[in-house]
Symmetry: C2
Subunit: 272 residues, 2 copies
């Protein structure tokens, strides 16, 4: 197989297997090429991945050495994407009765979701996350997008137990904004004790849901290493109950009378 | 930029933008290369994508011509994957009280989910699907995986309306297995009238949920072009209410006494 063919096959393999450790002999065998040829291929790919702003190859030397593709989204791409998202969300047709903002189309676009996932995964790249946790329903696609880049599983917290998931641990918590008592459930066998966890959700107001998830995760001795929310609402009436989170955008004002919405980049640049 | 560098950049661009029409001048400008060089690059990539069993490049000639990456999963890869899935599911530790099967770990693995999505997307490749529809919660990751390959949005049917989605259309239907009356809701602005729809779900017993989704989708004048379920239960007591679906696997027997599960490939090979 020629170098040009190998480069295509290797590129597609890396993009499909992020953060997976692959030993060089695997590639030598598969492409019937010397280790030094493969090594040169990897140098070219690493250089191009940097150039394209999509991450890099991590080389591990020694007997059990090999290579791993670490996806990353460049700062430039992140800024462009967040600004685009702010513009999209400031469209007044998004205003719903009650001062809510319609975002389901954005969360329903797999390519947008993939990009959001990459940004969070880049920000949390060095935290040794074992699992991404979200709460049903809207955070689910975002959680999978982050988990795919980090090469870890997703665990979904539910509002009610399901027979198809076996015995569960449940907690009650007080919702931040409505002050109502709510329930959260996680199947016992879904999360190994002591996992390093990243919480992902689509929207945060006072942070009650995330506080609830924290209490539930404490039952599994999990370490919450990171919290990422797509959008935070800047609401002065509500005292925010959490502060160690990363947000992509901040919705500061939904004015139904003037038919205006103000959306700004979130705290990801400062914290990320 | 040298050919080897271009091939890496082009490969990563195609894999990240499935079914997106790209005009050749876009690439000529970006890589500062002649149209004929780009055209040769595309031939090499097309050949390798075939060779790797991950799809092909579709060339569109004429003034507004260009190229499109059509992801596809080879028959060989599909068979290997489905057999692996059957083996995984036959592990007796998966048996839950009530004769249910624990599958959340498989649905929680982003790489497994991606492969399932590719298989459905390959099967439904020529049906001109406009949108993938699923019902909360477990089908959501599968729906996104299919939609990503088809380059279409996802719409999620819910059991209860949400204030953050605006006005909704709801229907009541009779569940196939429990014979209970249930509700389904879809926000009005989530689905354009007359869309070509593909329904994706994780599990089907009698098919009541899918029949319910059909009734709801009829309110939007949608054409249900395809139905894909990860697992179907072969249950003689229940008369199945739908028959035009594609399943990856079929669970024929969960025997709690003998601690045995029988899982077979679904009907995808016959229908796909």
């Amino acid at each position: 197989m020629k170098r040009s063919n190998r480069l295509i096959a290797l590129t597609s393999h890396f993009l499909d297997h992020p953060r997976q450790h692959i030993q060089l002999p695997h590639f030598s065998d598969r492409f019937n090429a010397s280790k030094s040829s493969i090594s040169e291929d990897l140098d070219i790919i690493d250089e191009m991945f940097h150039h394209e702003g999509i991450g890099h190859l991590e080389r591990i030397s020694g007997a059990s050495g090999g290579v791993k593709y670490i996806p990353a989204y460049s700062d430039e791409k992140t800024t462009v994407f967040i600004n685009k998202l702010c513009n999209m969300l400031e469209d007044p047709v998004r205003i719903l009765p009650g001062g809510y903002l319609y975002m389901s189309d954005i969360l329903g676009d797999p390519h947008m979701v993939k990009q959001i996932g990459r940004i969070f995964a880049s920000t949390f790249a060095n935290l040794e996350i074992d699992v991404v946790v979200t709460v049903a329903t809207k955070g689910i696609p975002l959680a999978y997008a982050v988990a795919a880049c980090l090469n870890v599983p997703v665990v979904i917290v539910r509002r009610d137990p399901k027979v198809t998931e076996g015995s569960s641990v449940s907690i009650n918590y007080v919702s931040g904004s409505s002050k109502k008592i709510q329930t959260m459930v996680l199947p016992k066998r879904s999360l190994p004790d002591g996992s390093n966890v990243c919480i992902i959700d689509d929207f945060m107001k006072a942070g009650g849901t995330i506080t609830g998830m924290r209490s539930l995760l404490a039952e599994f001795q999990a370490n919450v290493k990171a919290i990422g929310v797509l959008a935070e609402a800047d609401d002065e009436e509500d005292e925010r109950v959490i502060d160690d989170y990363v947000s992509l955008i901040k919705i500061t004002d939904v004015n139904m009378k003037q038919n205006q919405i103000h959306v700004h980049p979130g705290n990801i640049k400062a914290n990320g």
